[in-house]
Symmetry: C2
Subunit: 450 residues, 2 copies
């Protein structure tokens, strides 16, 4: 197989170097790594087609890889075979500032994309935290702190080029902003984690960079009040750019970690963005609404420096948890109807305390999505198990509440076991779809379905 | 078959009355009607399941029917068989004002829905003009004048209950605002026009009723300037609620028809909505931007009466064209990248003049979607052909420009012939999906695919 790949692609696009194999064996999650047999670096859609055809010939698994920033093991080649690294496919295919659309290859990262378009007054607002590839973000239907305003990746897609398991190359959409033509294959491939085809081009909606941004922060006595505050903002149709919940225990941990003195209370973080006058009006209205609801410590800023200060606790926290030496972390990703959020956050906090693990809670409160991060020593199997148990109890509770096991990280390896509980009979339909697209089960096998 | 249906459902849910057969033979389009053999009025998901099982047993076509407001013949039972009228399934299953979500049966109409939720300060903003059923709107992925802000129906869906061709009942999503779990079946059923299953429950996102609404109108010398004006608004990230283009010839026709005196120039119509202060700021900024670009006749209003006056031309036009006695109309529905809009509108105007047909152009300029309405006598086959020829030339040009044959009306009968031109190889994939879900081709056969 490796010889065939080298013949078809050229030797510089095929590697069995141990460092490369290791780099492609894992992602940022604590899921155990598996080495691929070989790593390919396609430079074109045609290269991807060749790889898929050889994989079919050799009956070998094919697992796409972006930058490995995934959190559920989607890019771990658990059946070994070929890891397809798309980093060389990082070009702009077509950019139309006047249409606010761009077509890029999947290996371009989020920050690279923004660098290309910012000078035209445009930005791509989906922000999952990591500098993930656009392809990876589509494949997992990623979102992040701006989902309250812009939704998930699926909502930003106009068109995809995909190489199917049988080598056919299709386009799923057009460059028009909306369409009612044909079946929505675009949405189907988004979130399919490389199990239905390999995405080779992506056409995205872009957005105007807001003229003005205002950050604000306030605190409430209870998590329930934070959630109610968030609801009031949503119901008032204020188009917030970001709205995040950090519970008091987590604020305390950030203060300890970074030597800050943020008020140790349940906090809501806001970002308002748009035309200057409109944004100021929104921030002012939000302030009035929150004060009416009894908030404390309203803190507002519009300069970049002061804005960063206000959001520091939120940013530090994720970073602090994810980058402790020798430690692994697991992040839950449940998403529930907003009214259920206070109860589930409360439950998560109890589970965390019960587990004895270090950790914190970060909530995309406008979406009902939050993460419970827990830390454990890399070799402490008991703590790892504690962390996964906590996740399981939280997921089952979320599903019971009408929610989902994953708001934005995807299924990968970690959420497979909850598919039946969440989707019921529909899992069989999804399996039929998988079987239709990939009858030999070569595309990222062992993901999504058990 | 009719006996079986009566036995299974009860006689009051099955009709072969001629008036009923006729009512279910056509929609609002000029596509020729076909009488079904029988009309069923299910009152529950179980009823729908029974109908589908009997249809399978008798190898009979099943075509869902909402209120018949479709514009591409989706509900015409062209293979006869069973027309499934969902009007008795018009109940709220679950309403959660605090989550801003509602679960309804498919036969509830858009206005019925808004009546139920408005008193809670919420509204469902997707507005295709007609008082269509929510089920029909999902099935065609409808949108309308608010798509610039809220997208299409697909963007507003959280969950569907669907009865499949084999009688299985599945749920496609959850009540959480976002999810990365499993394949996106919700998006796949949206826009599938009853060809993959019959939708029996729909969970929708709701939105807060804006505190304040401002309408505005201005004119430009050229259609190109209107399109540039619209682009400037979008690029400034002003969250307009509606933004519509009406070309000067169409304004003139409205003046003649309704005895108005609107300035006979290419016009942009705006609606801004949100918190009062923010909305006023947005309208003011829009005014400055449009004035900078050389607009004339800026007219603005915030009282309901004055707002209606400003939008009258836009509303009258659609109505005027659709409700002329003894006349049929055809509406094109192309959608292209915004930068291509002026050229395509110009082309459409030329085609219309060349055809000699009475008609007008209405543009959802924020989306690149516009309708060229043409009128002809019901029995004038030559004019009907002229109208369809015009559509064909416009569609092919739109596809060439990277656009779509249908922005919001759906494929139905009228856009089938363009599927290959628009989707290429992907049509074969869509056909495989259809075949997987409905191997006997009983669900709304003869639609979408030729």
């Amino acid at each position: 197989m490796i010889k065939k790949l080298k013949n078809a692609l050229g030797i510089d696009k095929v590697s069995t170097n141990e460092t490369e194999l290791f780099r492609h064996s894992h992602d940022e999650s604590a899921h155990p790594g598996v080495l691929p047999d070989v790593v390919c670096f396609p430079e074109s859609t045609e290269d991807v087609k060749k790889i898929i055809e050889i994989a079919k010939e050799c009956n070998t698994a094919v697992t796409p890889f972006g930058v490995g920033s995934g959190l559920e093991g989607q890019s771990i080649p658990i059946k070994k075979g070929i890891s397809v690294n798309l980093e060389r496919m990082d070009q702009v295919i077509d950019f139309s500032p006047e249409d606010m659309t761009i077509t890029v290859q999947p290996g371009m990262t989020r920050l690279q994309l923004n660098e290309k378009i910012n000078k035209h007054g445009l930005h791509f607002p989906i922000d999952p935290g990591a500098d993930a590839t656009i392809g990876g973000m589509v494949a997992t239907n990623a979102s992040g702190t701006t989902a309250v305003r812009y939704g998930s990746m699926r909502d930003q897609l106009l068109d995809l080029e995909v190489v199917l398991a049988d080598g056919r190359i299709i386009r799923t959409g057009t460059k028009a902003k909306k369409s009612s033509s044909g079946y929505n294959l675009t949405g189907l491939f988004a979130g399919s984690e490389g199990t239905l085809g390999i995405i080779t081009e992506i056409t995205l909606k872009l957005h105007g960079i807001p003229e003005h941004i205002i950050a604000a922060r306030c605190t409430f006595e209870t998590v329930e009040q934070c959630a109610e505050g968030a609801y009031t903002i949503l119901a008032s149709d204020i188009p917030v750019m970001r709205m995040e919940l950090v519970d008091s225990s987590s604020i305390k941990q950030v203060n300890d970690y970074g030597d800050y003195a943020f008020p140790v209370e349940h906090s809501l973080f806001f970002e308002f963005a748009g035309a200057k006058s409109a944004t100021e009006a929104q921030a002012e209205l939000a302030k009035e609404l929150m004060k009416d609801m009894g908030c404390s410590n309203w803190d507002v800023a519009s300069s970049t420096k002061d804005r960063n200060e206000i959001w520091k606790a939120r940013h530090e926290m994720a970073y602090a948890y994810r980058h402790q030496k020798g430690k692994h972390f697991y992040s839950t990703d449940t998403c529930v109807p907003i009214s259920k959020l206070p109860e589930l956050v409360h439950f998560a906090r109890e589970l965390l305390e019960e587990s004895g693990l270090q950790g914190g809670i970060l909530g995309h409160v406008g979406d009902g999505n939050f993460h419970t991060l827990s830390l454990f020593e890399a070799d402490n199997e008991e703590d790892r198990k504690r962390s996964l148990d906590m996740n399981e109890r939280l997921v089952l509770k979320a599903i019971e509440m009408g929610g989902t096991c994953t708001g934005e990280h995807g299924v990968g390896l970690g959420k497979m076991k909850f598919q039946k509980a969440e989707h019921g009979e529909a899992v069989a339909v999804m399996e039929s779809v998988k079987n239709m697209f990939d009858p030999d089960n070569l595309l990222n096998p062992g993901k999504i379905f058990e």
